[in-house]
């Protein structure tokens, strides 16, 4: 019985290890959406790393942070901050935009 328990707990541990074995994470970056513009609208992230964006809306209506390049689609209500996980990216430039106001609200993530 004890042996079985040990096997199970080892299995659970190794599964947990597999689940948490994530690539290195870069420091979170902050973006603000105000008057349908992103500030900053050009951010740099390290290539080959997962990274986290914190996007805050100071708009008065809903926005949708979207980027097929980063595989993200998330709605932001006015005043809200959302967390966006993305990467790892190969070096290059990746577009993001507010899908509800794509003409004015857009920016670039540059992976170096």
């Amino acid at each position: 019985m004890a042996e079985k328990d040990i096997i199970f707990s080892r299995l659970a541990l190794s599964l947990a290890a597999a689940a948490t074995a994530l690539p290195a994470m870069a420091a979170p970056l902050h973006l603000v959406l105000e008057s349908h513009h992103f500030t900053p609208d050009h951010i740099t992230v390290p290539a080959g790393k997962r990274f986290k964006l914190l996007v805050t809306s100071h708009d008065t209506t809903p926005d949708e942070f979207e980027s097929p390049d980063l595989r993200v689609e998330k709605i932001l209500m006015p005043g809200q901050t959302i967390t966006v996980m993305a990467g790892p990216l190969s070096p290059g430039r990746y577009k993001f935009y507010d899908d509800y106001h794509p003409e004015s609200a857009h920016g670039i993530v540059e992976a170096k």
Partner: protein, 275 residues
């Protein structure tokens, strides 16, 4: 106006392609109309509800609420599609022939129609809540200039609906003996795409291992940012940068559903001999 047309058209098309396939896949089930309308209305109501509580939903699950909710309803839709596949495999072909009048078959049709109504509701809820918030934003931001944008949106709804209807009618033009095979394959692809998307959402938020964040990149060929790419995503589960887990779950779901819908041929032959 063009911008709002494109945004709304894209969302309606994504939901509409799913609805069109569901309509074609249930074409032979008797008395299905109330379920289809029920699914449609539930989808609209759900879209409004999700839009209304979206702020709270986003903050749930440590900020991953939107993704977790999306993954959960996608998973539920996959189960419903699997149920339908299993059921149709036993009853689909028979229904085209002599089973229409049998009470038991209608009762079973009732259950699978409930499942398919749920799929319709989920498809509409997912895209509808985005459209609702978009239109709400327009209406509150510029009440005076909103008319053109709203009419663009309405045109988007109509065009998206028309394309979906055309898909449905086009599928119905397939001869009956092939229709079952075509729709069961489309349903399997639909379910595989949903399951893969759900897995990608959960992996992106670190709930499950990604098994590779980007297996390949075919955005140069077909970007999921384009309308064609979105359609391929909705219909087939296409991703221009798939995760490992996404591909794995896509393959498993696809083959499970194909197996569920084709396992049927034998018992069905037996059944026919009995009757």
């Amino acid at each position: 106006m063009l911008a709002s047309f494109i945004i709304v058209f894209r969302e309606v098309l994504e939901a509409g392609l799913i609805v069109g396939i569901v309509l074609a896949a249930t074409a032979e089930i008797p008395r299905r109309a109330p379920y289809l309308w029920g699914g449609l209305l539930a989808g609209f109501a759900g879209a409004g509800l999700v839009a209304a509580i979206l702020g709270e939903l986003t903050d749930a699950f440590a900020g991953n609420g939107q993704d977790v909710f999306d993954a959960a309803i996608l998973g539920f839709a996959v189960l419903m599609l699997g149920w339908h596949a299993a059921w149709m495999s036993r009853h689909g072909r028979e229904m085209a022939n002599q089973m229409r009048e049998m009470g038991a078959e209608i009762a079973a049709g009732h259950r699978t129609m409930l499942a398919m109504a749920a799929v319709i509701a989920i498809a509409i809820l997912r895209e509808g809540s985005e459209v609702a918030l978009f239109l709400y934003g327009i209406a509150t931001a510029a009440p005076l200039g909103a008319a053109a944008l709203i009419s663009g949106g309405m045109l988007g709804v109509l065009t998206g609906g028309a394309v979906s209807w055309a898909l449905y009618r086009g599928l119905l033009a397939i001869p009956l003996k092939h229709l079952f095979g075509v729709t069961s394959t489309l349903i399997a692809l639909l379910a595989a795409g949903m399951a893969g998307q759900a897995a990608a959402l959960l992996a992106n938020d670190n709930y499950i291992p990604a098994l590779g964040y980007q297996l390949w990149n075919t955005s140069w060929l077909l970007s999921t940012g384009s309308i064609a790419g979105k359609a391929a995503q909705a219909l087939l589960g296409y991703s221009d940068r798939p995760m490992g887990i996404q591909l794995l779950i896509w393959v498993i779901t696809l083959f499970s559903l194909l197996w569920l819908s084709h396992r049927a041929s034998r018992p069905q032959t037996l059944h026919r001999q009995e009757t």
